[in-house]
């Protein structure tokens, strides 16, 4: 019985050792720095970030200008409505 278990264990260890030997080059490659061949190129192009930053800033300013213009328009409308209301009420005492 013991012999049988030992034989199975030996077989298992042999299989695992074989698999490790077979996978070793791939594992080593995953933990090594890869040598760059040819000219170094940027993974993240800077142009997109610059365009996004500039675009965002000017769009934010534009949105704010529009919101102020709308506010001024609303005040002007309210002033007009108030004037009409006063005119309808007749001459001031």
């Amino acid at each position: 019985m013991r012999k049988k278990i030992r034989a199975r264990l030996n077989r298992f260890v042999a299989v695992v050792a074989g698999a490790l030997c077979w996978l070793a080059p791939a594992l080593a490659r995953a933990q090594e720095f890869e040598k760059v061949s040819g000219a170094v190129r940027e993974e993240l192009p800077g142009g997109r970030f610059v365009a996004a930053a500039y675009g965002f800033i000017w769009i934010a300013v534009l949105v704010y200008v529009v919101s102020i213009a709308r506010g001024l328009g609303r005040v002007r409308e309210d002033l007009g409505a108030l004037k009409k209301r006063l005119d309808r009420a007749g001459p001031r005492p």
């Binding site: 940027e42 993240l44 800077g46 142009g47 970030f49 610059v50 996004a52 930053a53 500039y54 965002f56 800033i57 934010a60 300013v61 704010y64 200008v65 102020i68 506010g71 001024l72 005040v75 002007r76 309210d78 002033l79 108030l82 209301r85 006063l86 009420a89 007749g90 001031r92 005492p93």
Partner: protein, 227 residues
């Protein structure tokens, strides 16, 4: 409402010319060898940060006038400046991470400069929220908050010199390459012009609202007397 003065239209024309000239100057400025093209975000990121600081100080100044002299004009300038602080805060906190993603490899770092800038932005948002939802005492509460924001500004500025951070230090602008200076200072001038125009417009809106409120009260009295 009074019509806009000649100064406003001259400033607007200058700003329009700046929109055409400044990007050309930035493109012609030399590319930084370590960071590459993405460093060009610097030309608008830094002026936006300076406008954030300037707006915060103007807001605090107006708030002081409101708190200690009950100046309504000071309060109107303060609310206009607070909105500009939030606007330029958004610009800084958006352009910065875009630069950082390329330069540092991450969008955000909880370092002293970035965290204190975020804190300043949150305090200024708190100012606007207190004014809108703070009830009768909202104006005074907001004015007090703006003083805390003004205290945070020197901390934000000096944070890169006091603590170890990934953010560039305050020596960047004084030691800027002479070939990069024209682009930087022209971008700064453009941003200052835009800031002044926005402040003038926003204060005008606040004045118009105050005038309208006064007229409403007068009209109510007149209508009551007439009936």
């Amino acid at each position: 409402m009074r019509s806009l003065g000649i100064g406003f239209w001259i400033a607007l024309a200058l700003a329009a010319a700046g929109f055409l000239i400044v990007p050309t100057m930035i493109m012609n400025a030399p590319t930084e060898p370590v960071m590459g093209f993405v460093q060009k975000i610097f030309y608008f990121h830094v002026p936006c940060a300076i406008m954030l600081f300037l707006s915060t100080f103007v807001c605090a100044g107006g708030s002081v006038a409101f708190l200690f002299k009950a100046s309504e004009r000071g309060d109107r300038i303060a609310v206009a400046a607070a909105e500009l602080s939030v606007l330029f805060g958004i610009c800084v906190l958006t352009s910065g991470p875009l630069w950082g993603r390329k330069a540092w490899g991450v969008w955000w770092q909880w370092d002293a400069r970035l965290t204190s800038s975020l804190l300043l932005f949150l305090i200024l948002n708190g100012y606007l929220l207190a004014r809108r939802y703070g009830g009768p005492a909202g104006k005074k509460l907001a004015a007090a908050l703006s003083l805390f924001a003004a205290v945070d500004v020197p901390l934000v500025y000096k944070s890169v010199d006091i603590w170890r951070t990934v953010h560039p230090r305050t020596t960047v602008v004084p030691t800027l390459d002479p070939r990069m200076r024209p682009a930087f200072w022209s971008a700064f001038a453009l941003m200052l012009l835009v800031w002044s125009l926005l402040l003038a417009l926003r204060v005008r809106l606040e004045n118009a609202r105050a005038e309208l409120a006064e007229l409403r009260l007068e009209a109510e009295d007149l209508l009551e007397a007439a009936s």
